[in-house]
Structure formats: C-alpha cells, structure tokens
Symmetry: C2
Subunit: 777 residues, 2 copies
Amino acid sequence: CRLDLSQTDRYYESVYNPCEISRVYISNQCVSSATPTEEMNGAGNLMDFLDEPFPDVSTYEDFHTIDWLREKSRDTDRHRKITSKSKESIWELIKSLLDAWSGWVVMLLIGLLSGTLAGVIDLAVDWMTDLKEGVCLSAFWYSHEQCCWTSNETTFDDRDKCPQWQKWAELMTGHAEGAGAYVLNYFLYILWALLFSFLAVSLVRVFAPYACGSGIPEIKTILSGFIIRGYLGKWTLLIKTVTLVLAVSSGLSLGKEGPLVHVACCCGNLFCSLFSKYSKNEGKRREVLSAAAAAGVSVAFGAPIGGVLFSLEEVSYYFPLKTLWRSFFAALVAAFTLRSINPFGNSRLVLFYVEYHTPWYMAELVPFILLGVFGGLWGTLFIRANIAWCRRRKTTQLGKYPVLEVIAVTGITAVLAYPNPYTRRSTSELISELFNDCGALESSQLCDYINNPNMSRPVDDIPDRPAGPGVYNALWQLALALIFKIVITIFTFGMKIPSGLFIPSMMAYHHHDWIIFKNWCRPGADCVTPGLYAMVGAAACLGGVTRMTVSLVVIMFELTGGLEYIVPLMAAAVTSKWVADAFGKEGIYESHIQLNGYPYLDVRDEFTHRTLATDVMRPRRNDPPLAVLTQDTTTVEDVETLIKDTDYNGFPVVVSRESERLIGFVQRRDLTLAIKNARQKQDGVVSSSVVYFTEDAPQLPASNPQPLKLRRILNLSPFTVTDHTPMETVVDIFRKLGLRQCLVTRSGRLLGIITKKDVLRHMAQMMNQDPESIMFN
Amino acid sequence: CRLDLSQTDRYYESVYNPCEISRVYISNQCVSSATPTEEMNGAGNLMDFLDEPFPDVSTYEDFHTIDWLREKSRDTDRHRKITSKSKESIWELIKSLLDAWSGWVVMLLIGLLSGTLAGVIDLAVDWMTDLKEGVCLSAFWYSHEQCCWTSNETTFDDRDKCPQWQKWAELMTGHAEGAGAYVLNYFLYILWALLFSFLAVSLVRVFAPYACGSGIPEIKTILSGFIIRGYLGKWTLLIKTVTLVLAVSSGLSLGKEGPLVHVACCCGNLFCSLFSKYSKNEGKRREVLSAAAAAGVSVAFGAPIGGVLFSLEEVSYYFPLKTLWRSFFAALVAAFTLRSINPFGNSRLVLFYVEYHTPWYMAELVPFILLGVFGGLWGTLFIRANIAWCRRRKTTQLGKYPVLEVIAVTGITAVLAYPNPYTRRSTSELISELFNDCGALESSQLCDYINNPNMSRPVDDIPDRPAGPGVYNALWQLALALIFKIVITIFTFGMKIPSGLFIPSMMAYHHHDWIIFKNWCRPGADCVTPGLYAMVGAAACLGGVTRMTVSLVVIMFELTGGLEYIVPLMAAAVTSKWVADAFGKEGIYESHIQLNGYPYLDVRDEFTHRTLATDVMRPRRNDPPLAVLTQDTTTVEDVETLIKDTDYNGFPVVVSRESERLIGFVQRRDLTLAIKNARQKQDGVVSSSVVYFTEDAPQLPASNPQPLKLRRILNLSPFTVTDHTPMETVVDIFRKLGLRQCLVTRSGRLLGIITKKDVLRHMAQMMNQDPESIMFN
C-alpha cells in the first residue's frame, strides 16, 4: 500500500477542476470558450498546458461560485512546490521566504493605503462640508476649523468665529446678518449640495457602476465565494473614494463607514495582484479581503479590534485563525496610519473620544434595556421600510431615473436640513457633540460650542437647576431632527451613490436618548451622564439595524474610549437584537442580499426541514436523464454533441451506462479545450475517435481511429452523498466545505447532482419564497 | 420524487449512529456491553427503545470521540419535535419558549456562579497568603490589608503597619524585630506553605485526580469532541476550587487563571445537566463549555472581551456565531458578578488598573520589538524545558511520588522566596506594583509601598535624578527574582496540583523590562513609563508561551485599562509569536496535549503531504479483509461471531461480498442490543435466522427460520470519499465536519475505512513522530 509518488504527482495536477452544473441565468460572458495561447503538440504538451493557469486571471467565470476545497488544494500544491524547490538553491530559499512573508506584506500595504485614503477622505469631507456654508479667505483649502485654528487673531473661546472665515453671503454682499443674507446662504447651501450629489451620481454612472451603495452586502457575497469581476477593481476604488467625499459632503443622510469597508477591500484586491499567491487563488484572495474589511472598519471608526470582530461576525465566511492575526495586523497598521495623518486633530485613534468620570448605577439598566427595545423596533421598521422602498425602485419606473432621484433627495434633504441647526452640520460632528458630557466637564470646548447655536444654557452644570427655555427649544429641534433623519435615511440608503448606514443609524438614536434623559433626569438630584445615553442609544439602534452584538459593543467602546460602560452597551445591544430578531431574522445587509438575489448561503440560517438529498437533486422525476460520459465508450462526436446540447458546466463520468458506477467528474471547460486541441494537434483524432478516461486504452478493433486519453482532466475525487442524506447535513457540508456541487449516489450508483444554487433554491422554497429569485434578478 | 414523510420519520430515528472503528488502547470501560433497562417486545418496541436515549447519559463511551454531524442532526430533530408540538397547546408553546431561552439561562447561571467562585477564591487567597506571615488580632479572617483598612488607628500613609496585624514572631514571642524573630517568621512561612501544598495535593489525589494541572489542554481536547467522564464533574469543581486556593496561597509559582477556566467549565457542565437539551447532546454541551471558558478568562482577568476572544482563538473547536453572543453574555455576567463582590477593593473590572498619562514614541517600538523577540525566545525555552521535565516525570521513578514532589518544590520555593521581598509577596501583588507608574503619579499608594521594603527612593520623580543605591539594590533583587521564577516555574507547571501559567509567565517579564528600562532610561531626560514596559514585556512573554495574539492584546489592555497602548502591545505580541513559531509551531497547551497523547486534531496544523486516502485507510495491504455485513445473506450467528471476534465499533453493510457496493453503516452497540432483544422477545429468531437490512425480506425457502429485519439501525448516509482523495482534503473534512469515521470507495465499491485516530496517526507519522503515541500513553 505504499505511495507511488510519480502517480500522485500526475494526480495532483489534474484533480479538482472547477465545475458547476446549473443553468446559467446571466447574460454576460456565459460559458465563454477561452482560446488557449500556448502552442500544443500532442499529449505531452497538453500536460504542460494544463499545468499552466488558464489565460484568464482565475479559472472561474464572472458571476460564478468558487470551489473552496479546490482553491485550498491548489494552494497547498503551490506551497509544496515552493518548499521542495527551496532546498535546491539559496535563491529559491529566499523566494520561498518572500512567499511566506507576502501575506504580511500585503497586510502592511493594505493598512497603509486604506489608512491614508481614510485620512484624505476625512479631510476632504471636512473641507467640502464647510464649503457649502463659506470659504476661508487666507487659504481656500482650509476647513472652517482649520481656518480659525491657524488664525492668530482669535481667542481660544470663539475659535469658530474668525475674520478669515466668511460665509458666502458676507463674501458676496458684505452683509453677514439679516434675512437677505440668510436666504442667500440657504440658497447657496442647496446649490452646493445639488452640485456635489450630481457630480457623485454622474461619476458613478459613467465610470464605475459598482461604486454605488454601501457595498457590504456585495462584499459579504463575494467573501462567501462568488465572483463579481470589477466589483473590487481599480476604477471602483478611485471613483468610490471621490464620490464618497462628494456624497457625504452633499449633506445626504449617509455615512462613510460602509463605503470605507468597500474602499479597503478594493485596496486589498489591488495588492493581491502583486502576488501570484493571492491573485491566482480565489480562496487566498478572500482571506486577504476579510482582513481588508477589518482594516476598513478600523479606519472608519478608529477601532482596530472592533474591525477584526466586525469582519469575523458580520462579513466573513471563511475566517481561519491565520486570517484573524493578519486582520488584526492590517487593522492596526491602518489605524496607526490614520492616527499619523490625524484628521480629527486630537491625536487619538478614536473618533468621538469622550471621558466620563461618573459611574453608572444598576437602576439605569432599565432605561438602557428600554433603549434596546426601542432600537430593535426601529431596526425592524427601518429594514422593512427601506426594503419596501428599494423593491418599489426596482420594479417601477422610479429605477430608470437614478440621477433625478439622487438630485431630488439631495434637494429635499438640503431644504429641510438647513433651518435646523442640528441637521445643518455634518452628522459626525453632531454625534460627537451629543456624546459629550456637558455637565461633568465644564471646560469642554465642544460643550460651549453645542450650546451656542441652540441658545440653550448649559443646564447640567448643577443637576437640579430648572431647565431654561433654551433646553426645550433644543429638545424640540432634536425631536424634529430625529424624525427627519429617520424618514430621509429610509429613502437614501440604496440609492445609486456610495452610501453608508452606520452614522445615520447612530444619529437617530442620540436624539431620542437625549430626550429620554432630559425628562427622566430632571426630578432627581443625582443626575446621570447624557452622553452615555446617547452612546447606548446609538448602540441599540445600530444593533437593531445590523444585528451585530460583540463587534458593535467593541466598536462603541473603542469609538468613545469608554471601557467602563461595557455592561450598559451590551445590555442595549443584546436587547435590541432579541427584539429585532423576534420580527425577522435578517439584518439590513442580509435583506439587501436577498433583495438582489445574490447566491449567499448564510451561516446563520438554520435549515431544519426534513427533506433528503433525493428531493433536491437533479434530474427530477420528469426531467431527461442526467447527462453523463462513460469511461471508455463515448466518441469525440458524442462529447461535442453533449457540449453543444447542454449548458451544464461539468459532467460525471461513469463506468458504463448500465452499471452507473461513478468514477469521476470532468469540467465542461477542460473538455472543450482538450478536444479542440487534440483535434488540432494530435494526429488521428477524428469525430469517431473514442474518448477514454481509464489508465489504459480500451481494446478496440484495429480499424478504429486512434483513441483520445483524457484521464488528466478527470477529477477522481468528486464529492458524493447518498440519496438518503438529510438536507440539513447537505447544507452543512456545502457551507463548511464551500462546495460548488455534490454528486448523489445510492449503493454506489450515480443518481443525480446537487449544486450550490439547487441548495439555495431549495432553501428559498422551504421558506415559501420564490426559488427563482436566487441568482440574479 | 416527492417526499414520503412517514418514511423520513423512520429514517430520522435510525440515522447517524455513533460508530467508530479503531482498536481501543485504553483499559477502562473498553466496549462495555450496555444492558437496556426497558422491556421490549418485538420490532414495535424496538422502535420505541431506539427512540429513547440509552441508559447512559450520552451514547458515547468514555475516552471516545463524538460525531459532531450526528449530534447536530439529533438536536435539529429534537428542535423540530418541539416546534411541531408547540402548535398543539399553550403549555407546549410555553415549554418551547423555555427551551429556546434555556441557553441564555444557562449562560446567566454560569456567569453568576463562576463570578462568585472567582470572588471567593480571590478573597481566600488574599487571606491565606497573609496568614503565612501573620494574623489579624481584631478578626482572624481579615487579610493584612483588610485588617489595617478597618482599623481606625492608622493614618492613610502607613496602612500596612497597624497594631491589629501582628506577625507570628511578634504574636508568639512579643519581639517584632531582631534575628530571632526573622528566623521564626521564616520558619513559620515555610511551615504554612508546606501545610497548604500538602493539603492541596492530598485532596486532589484522594477525591478528584482530574483537578490537577491547569486543565486547559484537557478542555481543548474535550471541546474538540472527546469524552473524558468526570473531568468536568461536581467533585472536580469542588476540589479544584479548594485546592486552587491552597496551591496559590502556598506560594508556589503558579497562577489561578488557567484553573479558573477549568472551574468555569465545570460550572458550565453542572448547569448543562439542568436542561436535557444540553445534557443529552454532546455537541450542544460543548457550545456551553466554550462560553464557560470565556467566562472563566473573564473573571480571571476581569476581561470579558478578552475572554471571548481567548475562547475563540485558543480553546474552542466549534464556535458558531450564536456561541459568540452567548459567550459574551456569560463573560459579562461573570465579570459583573465579580465586580459586585469587589475583591480588589477598587470597584473596577480590571485586576491591575493603571492610568498612564504619557504617550509613547515611535522610537520606543524598537525596545518593544526587542521585548517581543526576548518573549519568543523565553517561550520556546520554557516550553522545551517544561516538556522535557514532564516527560522525565512520566517515564522515571519521579512520577510515582507526586506528593513528595509537590512538598519538595514548595519547600524549595518557600526557602528561596522569603529572603527576597519581590518573591515573598504574592505574584499578582507584585505584578500590580510593577505595572504601576511611580514617577508620573506621585500620589500612588502602591508606589510608596513598593519602595519601602526595598529601601530605594522613588527615583523617577525627576527623570534626571541620579539613581541611589536603593535602586541598584532593587534591580539586583528583581534580577534574582526573575531567574528564580523562570527556573521554578518550569518545574512547577505540570505537577499534580491545580496550576496556572498566566501569572508566572507575566511575572518573569516585568522584571526584565524593569531592568531594561532602568539601563536605557537613565541617560535620557525624557523618561518613559516603566509600567508600560512591564506590560509589554508581560504580553511578549505570554505570547511566546501560549502563542495567542489578538486575545492576548485584548486581555492585556482590559487588564490594565490602557486602550492607548494597543500598538506597542501588538508589536510585542506578534514579534514574540513569530520568533517562537520559528523554533516550533506548538504552544504550551498543544505541547501538553501531544505529551499526553490526546486525540486532538489541531485546526492550525496544516497538512501538506501528498498522501491519498488509499494510503491511510484500513485494511492495509497485508491485513485481513474489511469486516463487513451483507444486506440480506448474513445469519444471526455470523453477526454474533463477528462481534465476538473483532473489537471494531461498527461495520459497513454492502449489497453482496462480490459487488461490494456500500449501502450503509451499522454500529456495533446497536447491533448487539438489537440481536439480544430479538432473541429474547421475538419468536422464531434463532442462530440460523437471516439478518436483513433491505426494505423487504429476502426470498427464502419456507424451511428457513424467520428472518430478522434490522434496517432501522442502519445509517443510510455514511460519509464516503474516493480512494484518490488527497489526505489534505480528508483532514479538512474531518476537521470541519467533526467526523468519527469515513468510508473509502472506488467506483462505488467499498475499499476500506478511515477513522479520526487513523488520521491523527497518519499526521503524526508524517511529522516523524511515533504514531502510537496518539490516544493514550
């Protein structure tokens, strides 16, 4: 039973062909017949040809599913080759060391680039948001804050009022105050917003249609093993970065957090192409992309650990421990790079750094849990309303005018946002103010700042001081802002421009908390921290919308630096998840995946039905029999006819049609290539030549033409299950091993085949959904 | 092709029998023939019998591997039954809701109990450690600190000197000072230490042999799907808690952190028995245990997030997202309970809370990375030396006198530790002092405290003040303490008493850092934070020993509250891991698993050899043929002979010996039970009766005795691979699906079988290790 290595060698080169049998529902690039570029002479060169990668970058078609097992096997094979070569010379040893370190190098590059991009985006958004209101006379590229910080003429206290910074009305007419100036500012504010959003939507439409939306549903789908060419391409990276700045600056109710994950993944994909280890292996590429997603969240919130957990909990599909370490490294480098750029001017990793000094009390858990309930309800409502609106957009005339839609929503947002000081400023600025604790830290700059535009005095200085009219005014404005943000976000998320959800989701909540807090705290003397309520409310809301828990809590405390408040945050996040889950298991990203019909096999969906493999496999009872090849009786012509008549991506090979005993699986693509080349290069191969997959040529009469040996393209270890296997096991196998297809046998006889899409369709059917919604819409 | 539900029903009851074919190397309970307690009459009752669980709690033997797929399938089945019943009545609905919430209830209970136990252990250790030196006169159950805190007569400054607290010499002779008192105190210190450790080792030996050691290697093995009865039992819980206090108090160089994980897992196992959902399903039980491990780390360090990550990165095998959420909940409840007990008296979750105000500089990354290198080297050295010592203990006479060994090591530790003030006090107290920043916080109590016994002045007040003789004295003592701790820990870890590694590992490092810092910082004026170096050093050392990264960094910053120092910690942890991995891939826990020969299939071991399933499967070339049953020609006598002659745990069933086409797999245990009961209860079943596994009885001459139908105990969906499947894929399948065995076929013919132990043996062989070391030693 000893191993014949020469045989194994040959075996390894031919095993695991990427095959998938299922009708292709998409129009583009469907079963392209690739043309080989190499010269081939006979069987010897066919080997070399099959050793080499196919002309395409990867061996998968666009919009197809990858085979994780095959990718892993290919990588091990590559690794083995390098290891055995490394013993030959010093140069090969160095090459093998470089290869081993390439993963860390890619992580370093991703961290550096995504950190830099995030810093640039932050600075640009700051500047352009302020540009809507005015301009810095000393240097037009300064934002309001930078303009006044660099000015020496102002005192520390009113650094937001300095002569260098002029509002547009003041600059144009010379009048800073009055109704005329207000109207002019208002008008120019709307105009700038419309210009920014028009630019954003046009750029997306013309250059990179994939740059729209938050990108997280698509990234989840890609990470689960689906190919969407160009989704993470260079153009998408460039356009998404530019339009993200434009979209956020235009004042639309969207955040940069989700899109930053997409940007980071594009960076990851870009650097993958530097190393053949990653560019030529879709499985390894996804490991890099998982880490890139962590880096994206890391820079979006300044939360490296939260980023790793987000990648693990929310977006990744295959997340081995090695990826965990690398993700952490990438996330740290990214956060560190961002800190070096220092766009927030506070030398900290965190976005909304707050320092609370008051502990929280057990009794406060009640409002925290109530906030959680509210967050869960809001999450459910938001998802339903947003999905309903997106479905309407898809199915009605509305979807045909994306530019008009964006312009309209921007216009409405700008018109309604300007009069309310809470909605006029940028969302992250507002959150930062709401998180801050006015009462406890009297010296806080932001606290003075927040009270100025609202004309409300800092009432929390002394807890039992009665609330002045300014507070009620602020409350009223916050309530209006809350309702406005809730409604407009439903319409904004899903439009054809880059849009994130995190910040708007957080938004809606603070306001609410703020109100609850005010009402609740007034009578008592021992006043609680309002910023904490804002934080907990934000966590509850985000939890309701995205259904994250651990990563959410970690992000929240990294975001604010409040390590002490894990318990309140956790209480709210878990409650929110429970409440929202009671109304529907799917978060916003899963809902959008379903809406778009991506073939995503969710790890969280539990399949509990009693069906068996025999109920799902093809062919069904009234279908024509399964298209199979026999090991040594099919002719070249038969194969060509089969390829022409069917659109399956692969064919099982059996001993004979009578015994139906399975010996392997052969991919359509390999078959087409092999026969085409044999006909061109190999003498004696004609239509009536017998194709054989056995070791030795079959015994044929001397008059027959030369047979064609195709064992090299045969996958000798196809995955099989018996027809009695329960579907829950089959689903588990597909999920955990990342299969594309699985053959079904009974007592060693081949009965049928189950593909990943068959599984997804069956799951949809069992949940009373339209099975044909799987794949593309 | 429609589904016949009645058939599926029956199918589901018989599918997935726990079977395992491999010789059993262990002596106890080997293939026990269980005796059924139920009455059975014919086939009808056989059904009922098979529905019911077996007389044992679970259906696995001790020291056997579980079948994850089967456990999952059983749970889904149970869930389905409850769901369908819940529609029948309100009562059933309530029961189903209770069932759905039982997971969270178990988590709550685990959190509460493990938090309480950790608090009690902390208080007891405090008291007993101080008892070695003296006693509180006002109340003997007070520790030194409590005694002086409650005393009103002392000022705040010297709260460690109060009249109520008397050293033994003072109490017995009336003299507090002098050589005689010193010798008496020294002698009593050693005596108490010996008494504690003797009690600990005796209790462990007499009541719960499983309570020894850190427990983490065994928990890793159990979580990977191995059964060790009693390892997490009530007795183990009780004895481990008591002996842990004794062992730590005796002054041995061990920590309570690892054993606390074991204690928490025992709590988890205890509460599992309250709910049949967990107690009767080994897979679900392991989900609870994973969460309990997180709770254990959470209370050990006051680091809930670190606990979850530790469970994920280090100990767990199967960690679905649901477990992630529940682990987090359990970890939080545990940490919160511990905070309520407040054993450290600082109202914080964290053990060594420090607040640094100085940022770190880029240039400091160089010493941090050097610390990482040092940590990696130390980790390698420690693992090698400790494993060599443990191997010697196993193989020589030494292993026969565990009590004597413990007494000897305690004696040596006590004798050497007392003269040095750094080693005399408890380890965690020392770490806390080393972490603290003396220079920056002049008001720090601990800083005064640390300087008193060393007679060194606080030299860091002003950075460029020259070091006094006290500092050099302290350095010298710290260096001695470092060497002493390193050496003694190697001999301590692995002794037959509860022993943790975390705190000793941390220990060794601070000292070193402290020294490095002193030497490095002296010339410069811009002095750095010594506590930070201690922290980074601790992380590097722990990283080298355990090979954790993300969880380590999170634990370290949760432990100290230093969110700002992620980058230095990470740099040290990653460097340390790289350096240590260069010398050997295994951490201390994996090394101990290997030393003990547990059947643990590590997720991190990459299998890269080119072997195929055919090289690993049994029977080998010269073995007797595979023991199989035929579907309708074997007689009862044949089956009984087969059972008697072999010790395999299951048998494949084929159509006929000629065709060798596989139809299913039957478990030895089921077969024995079914035949025994049929012989007793079913008329006409005699030795020459034919056993059949088909739907219909075979056509037999009328003279033949009544045949016996056994289709119900046949697993119709055994897992198969082809003989050409590469072993890396097979290893992957075993790992990801948690299989016990897998059948090997070629063109539909059964060739052989591969069990988990065959896989482990093959992996050991490929790594040039003794394959027979797998399983027990």
